[in-house]
């Protein structure tokens, strides 16, 4: 794997800290270069929740080849020995040409349980109960799964823990990074140094500087989406990215919503994982917000979709019962090319699994389109305008909520 920043704040004053980059996956896994900022598609046991490989075919390449995986999804089975013998993740999932990025938490099924974490290892809540994962356990998983990139084991804590506990989490995360590095047979070529520090600026900075001193390929920034406020987040993200070498990859977990992703991009983050699509899909929601955000004067946006907040619609609503239009006109996904809102409304009403399959396909496609728009905005030096337009669009909606509810 190789990474290069292609445009940054120096070149384009309209981008702030936001930057565009290129990920060269290199041999093994996906071969085409992938532009950043980009979304890592969330998976459960390595596959998107409702999409087998054939169903991913209508998603745009090469970005649909970027997947997030949580090694903890495999604590129960298959055994690491079996996964190793099959040949690792790519082989086991039939996704030989995909690029897997691993981090311990997946925000749905594997959640950090900081109360039970101790100096020996990090604790997680999983469907098979609470698990304490030591750096050696974690490295055994990484060794068997062989993801293309992976974050070192971290002690993630929520925003409300004490100063003392937060400090301990930074100490442990750095120590575990050293443990992972010393146990890594690949010598650090695919490791992302984990950075935590909660809501404390000084601790975030200390952790970032310590991680940056190690021989790592990039950085994973954790501890977000854990109870901190939207307002305090930019300062926390900025102190981290300002402390990191410019040329290395930055991946953040826990920033899921479009507004949160924009916060991350604004701070100079390159990769995101997001449970947003998963939660939308389970709730019967479909993303519909316009993707030509730069051209769009938000004030003039047509709020024609009743039953929506103007970024998404709930297809369970009875107004879609006879709606023969696709979720989004001109969307190139399998769902929009083949099915109507009325049909998905019916599938949701009768609790048929195809509803989730179709929604996950569309929502993934749409969110990938959002990242594509972000990249285009950065390329032409207009990320700040882009972000402002998006936020204004949301605000315009909120003020006209009477129409849009």
């Amino acid at each position: 794997m190789r990474f290069a920043v292609s445009s940054s704040s120096k070149a384009c004053s309209g981008n702030g800290r936001a930057r565009a980059g290129v990920l060269y996956p290199g041999s093994g896994g996906a071969s085409a270069s992938i532009e950043t900022p980009s979304l890592l598609i969330s998976t459960r046991k390595g596959l998107p929740t409702f999409m087998s490989r054939d169903l991913m075919a209508s998603l745009p390449l090469p970005h649909s080849r970027l997947l997030h995986v949580s090694p903890l999804n495999f604590v129960e089975c298959p055994s690491m020995k079996t996964i190793s013998s099959i040949g690792g993740l790519h082989q086991m999932l039939g996704l030989q040409d995909f690029f897997f990025v691993a981090s311990a938490r997946d925000s749905v099924q594997s959640l950090p349980e900081s109360g039970a974490t101790n100096k020996l290892g990090a604790s997680f809540e999983t469907p098979s109960g609470r698990r304490l994962v030591k750096p050696s356990d974690y490295m055994e998983m990484i060794c068997s799964l062989k993801p293309n990139l992976w974050a070192s084991l971290a002690d993630e804590v929520p925003a409300w823990v004490s100063e003392k506990r937060n400090k301990a989490s930074v100490d442990r995360t750095i120590r575990w990074l050293d443990d992972c590095l010393s146990l890594d047979e690949a010598g650090g070529t695919s490791i992302l140094g984990s950075i935590v520090g909660g809501s404390n600026i000084e601790e975030r900075k200390r952790c970032a500087i310590e991680a940056a001193m190690r021989n790592v390929s990039g950085f994973w920034i954790g501890g977000f989406g854990q109870g901190e406020s939207m307002e305090e987040r930019p300062a926390l993200l900025n102190i981290v990215t300002d402390s990191l070498p410019k040329e290395k990859l930055r991946y953040v977990s826990g920033l899921a919503l479009p507004e949160e992703v924009l916060q991350g991009v604004a701070a100079g983050i390159d990769l995101f994982d997001s449970t947003y699509i998963y939660h939308l899909t389970l709730g019967g929601f479909a993303l519909i917000f316009p993707l030509d955000i730069l051209e769009n004067n938000s004030a003039n946006q047509q709020h024609s979709d009743i039953g929506s907040d103007c970024t998404k619609i709930n297809l369970r609503a009875t107004i879609y019962r006879k709606d023969t239009s696709p979720i989004v006109d001109n969307c190139t996904c399998f769902t929009c090319k083949n099915h109507t809102r009325a049909y998905i409304n019916h599938l949701l009403n009768v609790h048929e699994m195809l509803a989730q399959i179709l929604l996950e396909i569309h929502n993934t496609r749409h969110y990938m389109g959002f990242f594509q728009s972000i990249r285009e905005a950065i390329k032409c030096g207009k990320f700040d305008t882009f972000r402002q337009n998006f936020i204004d669009g949301r605000r315009a909606h909120i003020t006209s909520a009477a129409v849009c509810l």
Binding site: K45, S52, C77, S79, K322, L347
Partner: protein, 406 residues
């Protein structure tokens, strides 16, 4: 009038392979129809169904009439358009679902009365109404409303149901508004009584319908009675019309019925068993839930070329089944692929004149110890297929009835 063409392309004794041209698709028989109760096959997209070679799917009128409703489907341009399924569709009459799902269903001369599951009010499904709803749904094949009784019931009720089914077929024919685009199939009833079955077949054949179904089976009757009814009906039904055995879906049953001259089958079994973690394989059933699967690096079926078998190991599927949606998605995909492959193999082996060899090989793999059930042997004798090479020289009476090789 009929909206289908049925051309027999090959035969072996009673078995036949045909081209069934329906308004939306040209099918090859024998064929299996997956059950898409509510306008979708659980866990598969239309593209996936086409990929595995699915030709026709079944929709349940009772469920579709409840949700989204026949009016809505009609407004949307019919079920084909509503679910964007480009190939053939068949709908049942709705009667069977009511009798089997609703405890309070009661059959009178007028129709099936039942308590609405929506508001509890008494409702009535008449033959006219069933056809009217099916006309709105718009499937290539629609089924007559019949008086369904359990095959395990005996006595005058069977006779009453058979005669009522005959009286109702005339009401169905009279109510059918779209004979030019939808084919109305009549259903042979009569329980396990050969005399009643005979009267029913002759009565239906007199009506010159586009196709015929053999109903009232696969309801817990013993296997010997089952195949004998199928054999009797297929022998009496016209050569140039499709024959559909309703509710049959075990691979062995399909092979036997095809040997006896049946053409079409439907069953929820392949997708239902998938949701419980079982895979259909040439040897029978593979339980992916079993602990030994957790380290098995083989595909579900090494002889299967489906997307699932090409990409996933038993070990991986083991860790998905009964826990993740993906487990039933992948297993349903494989199981339906298996059924489609079985249909195709039946068709091709008949066309290519090697049907007996196909049946023998099928039985050899399913019963490697030669313990082919006796009812299969009896049926094959009537079908004129020598399976003595598949049967063990000595029958072991302790494990049930098997055939003896001669």
């Amino acid at each position: 009038m009929m909206a289908l063409r049925f051309e027999v392309l090959g035969r072996f004794n009673r078995a036949r392979a045909a081209r069934l041209t329906l308004p939306h698709f040209v099918c090859q028989t024998p064929l299996f129809m997956p059950v898409g109760t509510q306008g979708t096959i659980k866990g598969l997209t239309n593209d996936q169904l086409e990929d595995i070679g699915c030709q026709i799917i079944l929709g349940n009128t009772y469920h579709l009439a409840l949700r989204p409703g026949a009016e809505l489907i009609d407004d949307m341009g019919g079920l084909h358009k509503f679910m964007n399924w480009k190939r053939a569709l068949l709908t049942d009459s709705g009667g069977f679902q009511m009798v089997s799902l609703l405890h309070l269903a009661d059959i009178t001369e007028n129709g099936v009365t039942f308590q609405s599951p929506v508001d509890g009010k008494p409702m009535l499904l008449t033959p006219e109404e069933s056809i009217q709803i099916q006309n709105k749904i718009g499937a290539d094949i629609i089924m007559a409303l019949d008086d369904v009784v359990k095959t395990t019931i005996t006595g005058p009720r069977i006779e009453e149901a058979m005669y009522r089914t005959l009286r109702w077929i005339d009401r169905c024919i009279a109510a059918h508004q779209k004979p030019g685009t939808q084919n109305l199939f009549g259903i042979v009833q009569g329980g396990l009584d050969p005399t009643l079955r005979d009267i029913c077949v002759r009565g239906l054949v007199d009506r010159n319908l586009p196709g015929y179904a053999i109903g009232g089976l696969a309801g817990g009757e013993d296997k010997d009675s089952f195949w004998r009814v199928v054999a009797q009906c297929t022998a009496a039904l016209p050569e140039d019309k499709p024959r559909y055995v309703m509710g049959v879906g075990y691979p062995l049953d399909i092979v036997v019925c095809s040997a006896l001259g049946a053409d079409m089958y439907d069953c929820v079994y392949p997708t239902r068993t998938a949701r419980f973690g079982s895979a259909l394989v040439p040897e029978g059933v593979l339980k992916l839930t079993h602990q030994v699967m957790s380290s098995d690096e083989r595909p579900i079926d090494p002889t299967c070329t489906c997307m699932v078998c090409k990409n996933y190991t038993r070990a991986y599927i083991h860790c998905l089944v009964t826990k993740d949606a993906m487990g039933s998605q992948l297993l349903s995909y494989h199981n339906l692929s298996y059924m489609m492959r079985l249909s195709k193999d039946l068709h091709m082996s008949i066309v290519e004149g090697r049907f007996p060899e196909f049946v023998q090989e099928f039985l050899r793999v399913q019963f490697p110890k030669g313990n082919v059930p006796e009812w299969v042997c009896n049926a094959m004798e009537v079908a004129g297929i020598d399976i003595s090479s598949c049967c063990a020289p000595f029958s072991t009476s302790s494990e049930g009835q098997f055939c003896k090789s001669t």
